[in-house]
């Protein structure tokens, strides 16, 4: 028998120990959430991606909903690095969970210099968003190809001593190769994945629903595709994988962990249920309790692959 307090929820993810495997996804988390959930319950805190350039973000409308999903083209509104260092980082100083700082830049050098500059007290991890589909034209980003992903990771690696997580795009046809390249270049973990480049058209006006024409798809609709990508990456790399895409329940998080994720990020679900992350943490603990799993790490890559047998049987009533 396992007691509720004997379940070890902690995970080791890319150079850092987290009290539990649940953290926000970049761009879906900010100080406002502190009014709804206790930040000290989270595995980590993750900032919105910051860039060196001052950016206004994309034209409106910035989001459009679809069944079970959201398309966003927020862009990366940014008030620049000094503002980030002076105003944003200190906001999280009082909380226990490590702070993960998400960065983006248009060039590999830009990534490296930003990582160097943000290697500061109060910052625990650099998450390199080399995948944001809105940045590069037509969704092409560093994370689309192994070579470009490797190059940017290598430069990032030499620019910072902090644990380095690299966030991949799901829009590539070769995510496992990209993950392997990123691992080879020194990343401590990969985040799988960002949003799917998508489009919606308004039938009244014939115009795109988003000011930016295209945007990134997130939410429950994408989960089956990203679970597959995590599974493929887990076969391809040894560094930890952080699963991200459509997670809104403990079951979703556990499915990702079974596929190979050591931790998970929760994005869009927080928009619908602002306390989603806390419910997911509680749900994972409950699941482990019921299944007598004493450490959540037992779930990681726990999927059971066996030879197909005659599963027909399962569909008939139990024998009398």
């Amino acid at each position: 028998m396992i007691g509720p307090f004997s379940i070890d929820l902690s995970v080791e993810v890319g150079g850092i120990k987290l009290r539990n495997p649940v953290m926000p996804a970049s761009g879906t988390f900010a100080e406002g959430l502190e009014k709804v959930i206790d930040f000290n319950r989270l595995g980590a805190l993750v900032t919105k991606t910051v860039t060196r350039e001052l950016r206004a973000g994309n034209p409106l409308p910035r989001v459009v909903e679809r069944p079970g999903s959201l398309i966003n083209a927020i862009g990366i509104p940014s008030k620049g690095v000094p503002h980030f260092i002076e105003k944003i980082i200190p906001q999280y100083a009082a909380y226990d969970p490590p702070l993960v700082v998400s960065i983006s830049a248009p060039t590999a050098e830009g990534f490296a210099s930003l990582a160097a500059e943000l290697t500061l007290p109060g910052v625990s991890v650099i998450e390199a968003n080399i995948s944001c589909p809105n940045i590069e034209e037509d969704g092409k980003a560093f994370a689309m190809r192994a070579e470009s992903a490797e190059k940017v990771t290598r430069q990032l690696r030499s620019a910072t001593k902090l644990p380095l997580w690299v966030k991949l795009t799901p829009n590539t046809g070769e995510i496992a190769e990209v993950a392997r390249a990123v691992e080879g270049a020194g990343a401590d973990a990969v985040v799988v994945a960002n949003t799917f480049l998508s489009m919606a058209i308004d039938l009244k006006t014939f115009k795109p629903c988003l000011g930016n024409i295209m945007g990134g798809l997130s939410g429950p609709a994408i989960k089956p595709i990203v679970v597959r990508q995590v599974f493929q990456c887990a076969k391809s790399v040894k560094i930890p994988i952080i699963g991200c895409g459509g997670i809104s329940s403990a079951e979703d998080a556990i499915e990702y962990m079974l596929a190979g994720a050591s931790a998970v990020q929760v994005g869009t679900a927080t928009f619908l249920q602002p306390a989603a992350m806390v419910s997911i943490i509680d749900g994972i603990e409950m699941f482990c309790l019921q299944r007598e799993i004493s450490s959540v790490t037992e779930l990681v890559h726990g999927v059971v692959i066996e030879e197909a047998d005659d599963q027909d049987l399962a569909w008939l009533s139990p024998p009398t």
């Binding site: 879906t28 100080e31 406002g32 919105k48 409106l60 927020i74 008030k79 619908l272 602002p274």
Partner: protein, 289 residues
């Protein structure tokens, strides 16, 4: 264009707080509330009343909630829908909304029956501020603005402030909130398209009259760009303060996603603010159409 996400100073009530004290307590909740009533008030608007927690019931005028709308047949609204507080009763732990059925989300709201449940999230955003020095204020609303301004009536009364409410609609029978304002002792001036009294010219005439009589220490407005412009002009001409509640499409409602931004003119500079977090109530003179 510069970006300014800092919280407006009008009302500190829901501003970002200091590092959390121990033990931590939420000041915004998403909860399953019990529906006490959900009835039509006229051809356009429905009145929704729910029993809720103390936190939700502590909402103040100008604040709003994000409602998780049930799915009507054949449609799947995904995001929550923002709705202004129409009324709150702290002791009975109850909040009220007034909504117009326009799309998938509000069609979903329409399906909820008395005794059913609704997932509400709030209270959200920065509401209206009432200065204790103000003796007479004017509230000017149209559309959803009629709902948004309604709770001001009670708050002003409690503050000892007299209200003149200029309520605008297409036709007299589509006016809402008239009773609430009257019940709390406000003067109500209905203006309508069908009676040709709702045009900016006539409203400006009424306002100039109120200003001349010393009955307009501040403007409160919501729901009409044209009427907002009239007030902005008069506010400048007479040096009067004002507050406007703005609308914008929302995803998170708590400042996380930056989809609800609008431009504001702050001392000649265009700054970008989140309606859900820095507003929805903003300084009248800073608002841009």
């Amino acid at each position: 264009m510069s970006l300014d996400h800092s919280s407006v100073t009008m009302q500190p009530a829901a501003a970002p707080s200091a590092p959390p004290p121990v033990p931590w307590k939420p000041s915004i909740v998403a909860e399953v509330a019990k529906v006490v009533a959900n009835t039509a008030v006229n051809a356009e608007y429905r009145h929704l009343v729910v029993d809720c927690s103390e936190i939700a019931a502590s909402a103040r005028p100008g604040q709003f909630f994000q409602l998780l709308c049930p799915h009507p047949v054949g449609e799947q609204p995904f995001l929550r829908r923002p709705m202004s507080l129409y009324g709150a009763d702290r002791t009975r732990r109850r909040v009220e909304f007034l909504y117009k059925v326009t799309g998938a989300g509000t069609r979903g709201l329409d399906t909820i029956e008395k005794g059913g449940t609704l997932d509400i999230m709030g209270p959200l955003g920065q509401g209206f501020t009432l200065d204790s020095k103000w003796r007479h204020v004017v509230a000017i609303g149209r559309g959803a603005g009629l709902a948004t301004l309604a709770p001001l009536a009670k708050a002003a009364k409690a503050n000892g402030t007299k209200v003149t409410a200029i309520l605008s609609a297409r036709r007299p029978e589509l006016l809402v909130s008239v009773d609430i304002f009257k019940r709390h002792g406000a003067d109500v001036v209905p203006v309508t398209d069908s009676e040709q009294t709702s045009g900016p010219g006539n409203v400006e005439r009424i306002l100039r009259g109120l200003i001349a009589e010393g009955r307009c220490d501040a403007f409160f407005t919501c729901g009409s760009i044209r009427l907002m412009r009239v007030q902005q002009r008069l506010a400048i001409e007479f040096g009067l303060p004002g507050q406007v509640a703005m609308e914008q499409q929302m995803a998170c409602g708590i400042g996380l996603c930056y989809c609800c931004v609008r431009d504001f003119n702050v001392a000649g500079e265009i700054v970008n603010r989140r309606v859900c977090w820095d507003g929805p109530v903003f300084d009248l003179l800073e608002a841009l159409p």
